[in-house]
Structure formats: structure tokens, C-alpha cells
Symmetry: D2
Subunit: 430 residues, 4 copies
Amino acid sequence: MTLPKNANSNTPPTERTAPLADLYTTLQNENNSKFTIESIEEKLEQNGISPDEPRIRQYMENIQKTVKDKYSPISKVTFIELLQDPNTEPLRKALATDLVIPSFQDFKKDIEEIYTQVKPNTDGKPSERLPHPEAQDPPAFAVSICTVDGQLLQLGEHNIQFSIQSICKPINYAIALQENGEDKVHQHVGLEPGSEDFDQGGVLNEDDLPHNPLINSGSIMCDALIQPELDNKERLEHVQEIWEKLSGNKEIGYSKEAYEKEINASDKNFALTFLMNQRGAFPEGTDLSKTIEFHTHCCSIAMSIDALAHSAASLAKFGVCPSTGIRIFSHDTVKNTLSIMLSSGLYSHSGEYAFWVGMPSKSGIAGGLMVVIPHLMGIAIYSPPLDQYDNSVRGIDFCERLVKKFNFHVFDSILPEDHGKKDPRKKKVG
Amino acid sequence: MTLPKNANSNTPPTERTAPLADLYTTLQNENNSKFTIESIEEKLEQNGISPDEPRIRQYMENIQKTVKDKYSPISKVTFIELLQDPNTEPLRKALATDLVIPSFQDFKKDIEEIYTQVKPNTDGKPSERLPHPEAQDPPAFAVSICTVDGQLLQLGEHNIQFSIQSICKPINYAIALQENGEDKVHQHVGLEPGSEDFDQGGVLNEDDLPHNPLINSGSIMCDALIQPELDNKERLEHVQEIWEKLSGNKEIGYSKEAYEKEINASDKNFALTFLMNQRGAFPEGTDLSKTIEFHTHCCSIAMSIDALAHSAASLAKFGVCPSTGIRIFSHDTVKNTLSIMLSSGLYSHSGEYAFWVGMPSKSGIAGGLMVVIPHLMGIAIYSPPLDQYDNSVRGIDFCERLVKKFNFHVFDSILPEDHGKKDPRKKKVG
Amino acid sequence: MTLPKNANSNTPPTERTAPLADLYTTLQNENNSKFTIESIEEKLEQNGISPDEPRIRQYMENIQKTVKDKYSPISKVTFIELLQDPNTEPLRKALATDLVIPSFQDFKKDIEEIYTQVKPNTDGKPSERLPHPEAQDPPAFAVSICTVDGQLLQLGEHNIQFSIQSICKPINYAIALQENGEDKVHQHVGLEPGSEDFDQGGVLNEDDLPHNPLINSGSIMCDALIQPELDNKERLEHVQEIWEKLSGNKEIGYSKEAYEKEINASDKNFALTFLMNQRGAFPEGTDLSKTIEFHTHCCSIAMSIDALAHSAASLAKFGVCPSTGIRIFSHDTVKNTLSIMLSSGLYSHSGEYAFWVGMPSKSGIAGGLMVVIPHLMGIAIYSPPLDQYDNSVRGIDFCERLVKKFNFHVFDSILPEDHGKKDPRKKKVG
Amino acid sequence: MTLPKNANSNTPPTERTAPLADLYTTLQNENNSKFTIESIEEKLEQNGISPDEPRIRQYMENIQKTVKDKYSPISKVTFIELLQDPNTEPLRKALATDLVIPSFQDFKKDIEEIYTQVKPNTDGKPSERLPHPEAQDPPAFAVSICTVDGQLLQLGEHNIQFSIQSICKPINYAIALQENGEDKVHQHVGLEPGSEDFDQGGVLNEDDLPHNPLINSGSIMCDALIQPELDNKERLEHVQEIWEKLSGNKEIGYSKEAYEKEINASDKNFALTFLMNQRGAFPEGTDLSKTIEFHTHCCSIAMSIDALAHSAASLAKFGVCPSTGIRIFSHDTVKNTLSIMLSSGLYSHSGEYAFWVGMPSKSGIAGGLMVVIPHLMGIAIYSPPLDQYDNSVRGIDFCERLVKKFNFHVFDSILPEDHGKKDPRKKKVG
């Protein structure tokens, strides 16, 4: 499967002079005729755009060379000339407030309100399957949002690195799809929701395959399809590189402590794996122990909540990173990944969640929750205390409140205009 | 739960003179200055609109009074005067080709092509649980489509009345929601996909409730919530009336033979019902045998495929009948119904179907399949031979081909513009 | 299946004069030459034989006519003449201490010791599925033993009548066998241990039959085979008559309260029954509701613990009542019944019990426990508090202690002579 | 757990002169006053006693020194003197026909008749899980019987060595009991019949332990308790030595081919083992892979059918080898082993087999079947074609016919004397 060329390379290199002149005029007017670097910075902040974004930083550095300081006026010619570079499109859209969330400050206030409502919810307990340092006291509660246009919103302790655990599953499924094609992948893993509880029977489906790619057995199966000829160090680096691209080049770490604790508690994964092998589910020649170790390595990948939100935004943008404009997954891969996240992303709570919340999501037992709202944004929530289904208590709470306020449910298009849910994609009137 | 006022009553009674005058001019030009009743009929036919639609028929009768015959020109004044009645909006939209599928003839050709491809597929066997007359030889294959604007497309033997069987389940769930509210309903029925196979265990969920409203146990539970104080004759008539409204006042029948054959083979339903009662799942005071009989009555409701497609279109229009404009279910009820149809509408094939096809649907063992594409259309397919999962073989085949040609999958919004799938909502360019 | 002639009819009517003369001499010597009715009464008491046994009572009445009072010597001629009647064999055996437990007083002491050890065990809770009067406070604890020679031992509140509940199952299985033959019965019910928990799956076996005759489904199946053409009143009387014969004509009652409480809580039995019917397990034409009602009637049969112990003794004597000598079941019927009681008589604790205790037994949720030690005795224990498996806590405790003291385990024949377990069948030496 | 001293060491070294003199006289008479070595040999053959038995061979060698040839008369003095050695007891019993089967030739004829009836039964297929050489064409059918007095009967191809497979399970359970005590063993393995089918759920019992010692999981658990500190070579030799003792020092082999084929197909055993480890079922520090390898080694132990029958006879003699008189297991160990063999020895057919056949038995997928009739004999049957439950078709057929002819069912004591079943323990009358 070959990826299409990067999204932004499709932007036609047409004449942009006229609209840029208009934009300059508008910005002049907005700033009482004194349009400066400070004006740009204010505009960016107001729209949730970070000046550290690589393509914006480049422009800012270039423009700084043309003026004395940040309070000096920017000339129309300079403004237009520098903005003709297609790479500056993110900046241009920000300056023109031509962004997916036009009233970002309003949106921010709403999200802050939800955060404040959820924070006192101290139900649940952190997983005992992970090393203690992961569980802070009082438990952390961080939310990070990144829109498809790179608008950022961060609340709570967003500097913590945590292991992604099962959140690796949809990405590894996507990698397996991208590298093997959907036919090959789905010869080895099913697509029905299903349990892998040994006490209940039906651990595998009627074709003797794992039920779907987001339960342990199905994820181990996908992992078996990812570059099996490489050694596990190389495979891990390969997956980390993909996360790095998804996250807009943020730091992708690894929790050795999580790996070591988990690999020593992998009995259930081994049981599932040997059962699958007995039933002939794996590709010929699969090295079972190596596959389980690789799976556990991927679960032990660690990152900040900002990196996770940014990666979710790359899925929301159908495989293209909002800040670099680089395509990582094809549209089809993302479509399949979101389909299965919608039906099976929250363990045994998936059906209820799909019904009441209706956003493609995936949780991990370290307390992470990754949410994708196609065409709009990625959300990451981190709060270690888990409910009975091993989902982050505050993560679920936050999402339930989110879809009560905003039309983010996959079937909210069915509701009438006057239903009372907000649509942040819309320009504020008046 | 009270329904909002009918959708079309929201249409503001503003001045429409100017646009109607423009419309008249356009139609004049299209018809070489001779705009007649014949011109209207041709326009309607071209757009798939039936002149028998009640609101259109009324207009046609009125306008016939003003002209000599169908070849006589219609005057501008008459045209405008009669079209000012808000009830004529469907006609106005048809004449203006302001319809959800603007190029209906192109769409029709595509559908006919799929129909022709699917027809030779003679796999599967009709259900043995139903009386023989239901299974024709060679097996019937009919498709009926009704858009949210009432555009109709009918292929195959669309005059057969067949029993809807499990297709009654989403509608009965919707009725239960409408009459009891979602809180009450979901105290008695869950929302996770799940099996009710006695050989596999887990017949009920961990709360001792049926897994969801679209399996037998869950549907029986919803039925217990529909007017339990009435006798079963009244309850059946109540449900039939709702179908009548959904279908735009088409004939809603009943198969006594299907009922008699099935009530005598209801052992599994009785087993499920008594098990649910043992676990305390039913509302206090539920009459178990009466509930099962009512359930079987609802399964034995019979109708034409056109009535079924029209009913599906009422769901696609969020609860409003395309031809009468009358609201039957609230937006919320429809949203919930479509959510559960997407995850659980095709028996044990639901997950695969949601992934590959991605349209809220429900099948019945008589061979019916009801499909809802929100904002766009309802589809009904009828072909009795069933696959291993008890779904109509041709029904599934048709839907799989449909989503390969059109962007009807719930996640097709993720695909790029140039992906190759058609969008019939778009005006043909050029 | 025709029963063989009564066991005692096999006793040859030969000359008994000589041995009776010897017996008279022995008894004379034992009683210092003064052998009286009082001597007989003492001898009977010492051996646990009741003078109320019909065949003994007859003799006692006859001999009383020949002497002045109970202290008057009995003449040799009279003694011999009256004892020639074959019906007096039980008396003759008692006087000769030719009984299965020769040292009955020693045995009694051992049993009393176990009773005393078990009595303080107040664990468990009476079943909530039965009417309250069944559960006394403090809970009753009664033990009754009846040997194959009619020796009786009674401890605790042995006058209480309690409903036998599941203890009806082995007897109804025996009746079904006796009336239908084992081939016919086992076309409808299996022979493997197994659960009928709807949460675990595998409610029926791979032939779609109930696993065995001692679980609810299997017992309902056996009940369907008992005189289905009679009405339930007649069927109940039929079963009660058999219990009456098994118990040596003791009173067999019925708990209307138990029936009414249980028939209103029969949902699980209905679920099992409808499931079995769906799978075609029942004989053609079975009336399902009537069968469940008959089953519940049989569970509501009530009797004293003495009647139950006596019935168990009739099984220990391979189908012949110890006190009347009448055969009720054939050897084959009893063999099959004891086989299945050994493997499946104690719900989900059956395997553990068979291993550690090893006596064919059946428990009921009213707190009864019937134990059969072939060739030796029947035991009945009554104590309502139940353990997690619905077996009487004190019943299990008593049996576990019993097999530690006596060689009653089905495999105790494997232990060496010097193992330390007592064998009450043996004459005390010295 | 210490074993009691050898059984024959209990024989009091008292004067045996008188009875030996009587025996000599009897033998003289039987042989027309000419009692020779030939007479002894004939007597042994007639009673099924092999002159190769070590203790008999010794005597024969000694007596040969006292006479010219096998046709020379043996003197009374010599006869008595040599027979005073307690080790000659087996010979003395054979000469006195004081053996558990007094009419051995009659018994042999009956067994041969059954063998002939079963031989044409060619149903079933050899296991595909074993190397091909194990399955002969036409399939072998061998029966070997060894009584507790060492009487031997051999039919069919009894020289084939075959791998014992699951027949190792009861012996390994016995070893685990003997070396750890029953308390320790049953902290790790349950006692209820039960399945370990991953498709059905309930792979482990409610205490998260394997259901019983005779299914794979339970046997692996017992193996984990056998000398875990030794290496697997030593452990295998240890188990082989015990089989050697049980078999009366017959050759105990090993099938490397079976081991290699099976260890490469151990996925299900690995799955079971990891699942048990996840649930904490194993003793602390258990090496899982080593345990599975040891388990597979034990399954690959190979021996002749005579060795297997002899071993079964050692169980029938409560742990003492009939030919060496050496005790290998305690009475308690044997009792427990036979209890579990009765309830769980034939895979999913165990309950039916216990009911209809009622002899403690264990089957293996190579086609072996070991049967123990306590106090009487061990039987081994070998015929590779298996039925749907993986039991030898002819093995089952043979046993079913055996219990129809002989009173070998554990509950046959319940049948009346005149039931028609033979008792080979009885002396032929007349």
C-alpha cells in the first residue's frame, strides 16, 4: 500500500497575491494600522496556534529579520512575499482566522468548564498491573486537545509522560493495515466486538481468529504482522517513529519499568497466543515469544498527553499531521481504524460508550484515553484511576459531558439545529 | 416524551412570490416557453417524484381546474398563487430540482446496474421457520429506495407483502423509547453487542439484562414496555398505525400464517423470557405469555417493500415522513435507534457489516433488509434466501456493492474527494 | 419391566425346628433360664429393632396370648411353633443377633459421638426459596438410620415433616426407569455430570439432552416419563404411594406452602423446559406446564426423617423394604440409581463429595440429605442451613466424619484391615 | 508419606510343615502318585502362572538341583523344605489353586470369546497427533490381563511397545500424592469432572484450579509437584522406575518420536499452563516450560501391553506388585487414584462409562486403555482406532462386553446372585 503524496503538496502554487493583500489590510485594520510581530503573536495565541510549530517558527524567524523589533510595523510587501511560500499556509489560516474552530477562546472556556466539573470525581483506582510511579497522588488529570488545524488547548499536568498501554492497539492495527493491506490483516483478525475472558468461553471467534484488533489477542495478531523479520529493537523503533510523525515530532519515550512489570505478568497473553497458535491463527513462521515481547514493548511506549492529542489529531485529519502536513496513514487505513475504535475501543464498555458518547476512542490501563473527532480534532485525557471496565473514570466522565455540550457524537448530525448542542466549527454570529 | 411540532410547520410563511416567479421563468425556458401539466409530470418523473404523493396530487388537481388539458400552458399567476400554500413545498422542490438527489436518473442507472449484478446470486436458503408461501420460486429480489425528499426508485417484485420479522425490532425499540423515555427503557435492556446462544453462556449481560434491543430477548423486553395495559389486539393495531405513518399511509398488513407457525415454535423465546423473569429483568407485573404473543404479532406484521423503504426514509429524515411531513419519532429517538442499528442490526454478522458496510440496517428472516442513510434515503431489499447468519444473501451483496460505489458508509466522510466513490447528493457538473 | 418376586418369598419353607430349639436354649442361657416377653423386648431394644415393626408386632401379640404377663417364662414349644412362620424371620434374626450390625449399641455410641461433634456447626443459611416454617430457630438437626435388617437409630428432632425437594429426583429417576426401561429413559436424559447454569453455557449436552437425571432439567425430563397420561393429582398420589412403600408404610405428606412458593418461582425451570423443548428433547406430546407442575408437586412431598431413612434403607437393600419385605424397585433400577447418586447427587459439590465421602447420596434445599450404603443401611439427615452449593452444612459435616470413622466409602474396600476404620458389620471380638 | 512395609513381609514365619504335607499329598493324588517338575509346570500353566516369575523361577531352579529331570518324582521332604521359604508363597498358592481366579481356564475361554467378538469392530481412526509407526495396518488389537495373584492372560499382538499418553496421568497423580500428601496436591488441583475446552468457558474451576488430575491441565499440575528440583532427565527416570516396579520389572521404554511430535504441538498445553499461572494455580517458583516438557516426556513413556496390565494389577492389589510383592503406593494413594479414575478417566465419555461400565480406567490417545478391578485384576487393552471422545473403540467395546458377562461394575454387588453375571472369583461347583 503506497501512501498518496503529502496533503499540502496538493495545494496549487497559484497566485496568492490578491488575497494576501486583502488579509494584510484586514489585519492592519484590526490593529489600528499598526500590524507588528506582536500582532501576529496575539492572533496566534487567540486562535490556539503555537508559535513553536515548525512551519510557523520558520516564518517568524524570517520576518524578524525584516523588522527592528516585535513592535515595529511589518510592511505589506514583506508580509505578502513571505506568505507566498506554501509552507506558511498554517500561519495564513491563523491570521485569517480561517480555522476549523473559529471562536477558539469560547471553545476553550467551555472545555475549561467541563474540566472543572470532572476534576472532583475521584472514583476509581489506578491499575495494579503497572509500576507505582505512574500513579500520582493526588491522581493527575490532564486534558490536551489539538485540532486538525493545529489549534491547541492544554489543561492539567500535561508534562507527565505515561505509558500508552492499549492505546497502542489502534495505531498498531493501522500500521499492520498500511504495511499488509486490509485483506491480509483480516485473514488473521476478526471484526466483531467480543470478549476474551477464559471463564466465559468463545475466546476466539468461529473462524478461530481473535474477535477484533483492539483486544489483546487481536492486537498481538496485528503485531505479528508488523515487520516480523526485524528484531524487536528495530520493530519498536519503527513504531516509535510512526508515533513521532503522528505527534508532530514530539518526544516518544519508553517505560522500561512498565515493560518489565508487564512482561513478567504476561501469562494471559501467552495463554491467548498459544491458543491462537493451536488454532492456526498466526501467519506461518510466527515467533510467539518474540511477538508477545514486541506487543509489550509497544504497550510500554510512553509520551506526553500533548503528543497523544496531536497523534489523535493526525487521525482526525485522515492520516496527515496538522503541524507538519506529512501524511502517515492513508484515508482507508484511518477509516478502518476509526470504525473499529468506535465499536470496540473501551473494553467491555464499548457498546454503551458508542451509544451514549459516539466518538472513536481508545483507552489504556495507565489512565490514558485517546479520542478522535474526524475533520475536527484529537483529544487526549490522562487520569490513572480506572473504573470496573479498566477505563479512566475521569476520561469517561469528561467525554460524556463533552457530547452533552457539543455535537460530537457520530450520529449528532441527526439532531435538529435547535437541539441545544454547540458546534464549535461554526463562526460566532454577531 | 412529547414530539416537536411537524417539521414543515416550521417553514416560515414568508413572501415567496419572487423566487416562484424565477422558478416559473426557468421552467418556461426549459420547456421552450410552453410550460404545461405535461411539463410538470415529466419533471416529476425525471426526479423520481410520484404524482400520487398526497400533497402533490392536491396541487395537480387544483391546477387542472385552471387549464383546458395537460398540454395547455399554465399561467404565471396561477402557478405562483397555487404554490404559495406551504403544503406544496415538495412540488416546488421537485420543479426546482432542489432535491437531495439532484441527478436522479444517473443515480437510478447506477442502482439498476448493482441490481443486475446481484440478481444472479442464488446462494442461501429461505428460512424454514416461516410458512412456505413467503418463499417464491425463483426467489423474489426486490429493491425499493425512498429519499428524504420522497424520490422513489423501485426494482423487482415490489408488490409482494412479506412479514417484517426482526425488522420490527428497531421500530419497537423506537416506540418504547418514545413512550417511556431512554432512562426507563435502558433500565431493562443493555446496549452492548452480544449473543443469546444458550450453548455459549452469557445469554444475559452482567446486569442480568438482555444485551441490546435488537436481539430476541431485548426486543421482547422493549415490547413489554409498549402499552402493556392494552390488550394485544389493541397493541398490535397501535404498532401498525405507527408503521402506517412511517410508510406514508401505505397498507400495513399482517401474516396470520407466519404468526401461527412462529408462536408454535416459540420455545426459545419462552426460555429467554422465563430466564429474564427469573433474573428480575422485566418491569413488575409483566404478563410473560402475553408479551411473547405481542412480540410474535409484531414480527408477523406484513407490508410491501415500498412501505418498508418509505419507513426507512422516515428514519433517514429523523422521524418525519417524507410524503406527509408528519413527525412520528423525535430526533433523539431516531438517533438512538440508528446507533443500535449500526452496531447490532445483522445478528452475528453485525460487527463485520458495520465495518465494511457502515449503514444502520436491520434484517429479518423473511428476507427483508431495511437500511437507513441519514439525511439521504431509506432502502428496503427483499430476497428470502438467507446466509449462515440469517441475513438475506442478496441484501448483504447489494449493500456491499452499494458502499463500494457510493459514499454511504458512516465513516466515508473520512475518504478524500478523489477517492472514486460517488456522492449522489452532488449536482452533476457540466 | 416386571419386578422379581418379593425377597422373603425366596426363603425356603424348610424345617427350622432344630435351629430354633438351639436359639431357645441360647436365649434361656442368656437370661438365666428365665426367657420372657421382657427378655424379647430387651433383646430387640439392644439390637435397635422396633417392636412396632408389623411382622414383629404380630408375633408379639400372638405370644402374649400364651403367657400370663411379660415376666412369665415362654415355653420352648410355643417359641418354636410361632417362629416357624416365615414372616417372623426379622424377629428370629433379632433374637439370634443375626443382624447386619451385630453390636448395635457400640455403633450407636459412635454415631451419637459424631452427632455431638457436628451439632455446634451453625454455618450456612436456610434456603430463601422455601416458606419460613421449614426453617426452625435454632435450626433443627436430626439424624435417622435404618439398616437393611430394620435396626433403627434416631437422633435429634426426628418428628418434623419437611419437603424433600431434590431428594425426589433419584426416586423419580428410579420410577421412570422401572416404568419405561433404561433404554427409553436414556434416550431423553444423559449421564455425565454437568451444570445447568445459563451464565456458563452448555446447559444441555452435545445431544441436546439434559446432562443427567439429578439436575433440574434431567429430573423434569424423568418426570415427563412418569405416567404422563394421568392427571397430576393421580401422578402425585402414584409417586407418594411408592414413597410409602419405600418407607415401610410411614406417613407421606405434602407441603402445599412449599408448592405454592416454588411454582411461583419456577422461571428457571420453565426456561430449562422450553429450551429442552426447542431442542426436541422431550417425548412427543409432552405437556410442558403440566410436567413442571408435576415436578414441583414431587419436590413438595413431605415426610419425616425416619421415613426418609427407611426409604434409603430400601435402596440399600436393593429395592426391598426392610420392614415389610416388599420389593419396590428391581436390582437394576437400584444399581442405576445409586450409580448416578454417587456421581451427581450433591449439585456442584458432587465430584468432591464422591472423592472424599464416596457414598451414594442426594441432598435437597429444605436441608434433607439421603445416604445409601448398599448392603448395610440408609441414612437421612435433616438440618436446613445450606452451604454455597445448596447442600446441608451439617449433612456434609456428618457424612465426612462418618467415613473417617467407618469404612463406608465405595472404595474403602481398598484400605488394609489395619487402617483404623471401623466395620460395624463385624462381630465384636471378645 | 512413608510406605508400609512390603505386604509379604507380614506373612508370619510360622510352621508350615503340616499344610505343606497335605498339599504334597493332594498333588501326589492329582498326578497318580507321580509328582514331578512337569506336574508343577502343568499346574502353573493351568492357573495362568508364568514359571518366569522371579520368585517361582528361583524355586524351580532349586528343585531342579534335587532331581534327575523334570519327569523324576519330587520327594516330600524336598518339597516341604523348599516351600518353607516365604518367597515361595506364590508357587504354593498356585499349586494349591488358592488363587483369586480358581478356574482360570474357564475364565480364559470367556475372555477369548469376548476378544473374538470385538476384533471385527474396525470403527474409529488412530490419532493424528502421534507418529505414524504407532498405528499398524490392520490396526493391532491386544488384550493383557494380570490378576492380583499374578495369573496372566494374553491375546493379540502383545509385543508392541506403545506410548502410554494420558495413561500416565493417574500414575503421575499417584506419585504426586505419594510424595506430597493429598492436602498439598489438592491445594493445586480439583476433584470435579470438567472440560478444558476453551470454546466453552469454565476451563478452570471456581477456585481457579484445574478441574481434576486426569485432564491435561490437572495432570500438568500434578507433574509440577513431582520432584521439581531435579532436571527433567532425572524426573523421567524417576517416573519410569516407578512404572518398572509397578510392572514387575518389565522393560519401560520411551518414544522419542512421540515426544518430538507432541512437544511441537503443545500449544494447548502451553495455553492451559499460562492461564493456570495467571490465576496463581501453580506452586511458587514452578518452571512452566520445564513442567510441560516433563509432562510430555511422561506421555511418551512406552511399554508393552503386558507391562501395562501388570501395573494395573499392582493398583488392583492396592499398591503391591503381584510378582515381586513390593509395595509401590500406599492404600490411600491407590484409593484416591481409583476414585478419580472411576469418575474422570475417559475424557468426555467418563460419566457414561462410569454408569454403564463402572470400572476405574484410563485411556490414552495411542489406543491404550488401563482398567483396574480392585482385589481382582488389572487389564490392558491396546487398539489405536479412537472414537469421537478419543477413547479406543475396541477398548470401550471390550469393557462393555466384559461387564455384561462378569460382575465387575463397581455397583454389581447390588445385583442378586441369580442375575446371570459370572463371578470368576468363585470356585466352579461340581
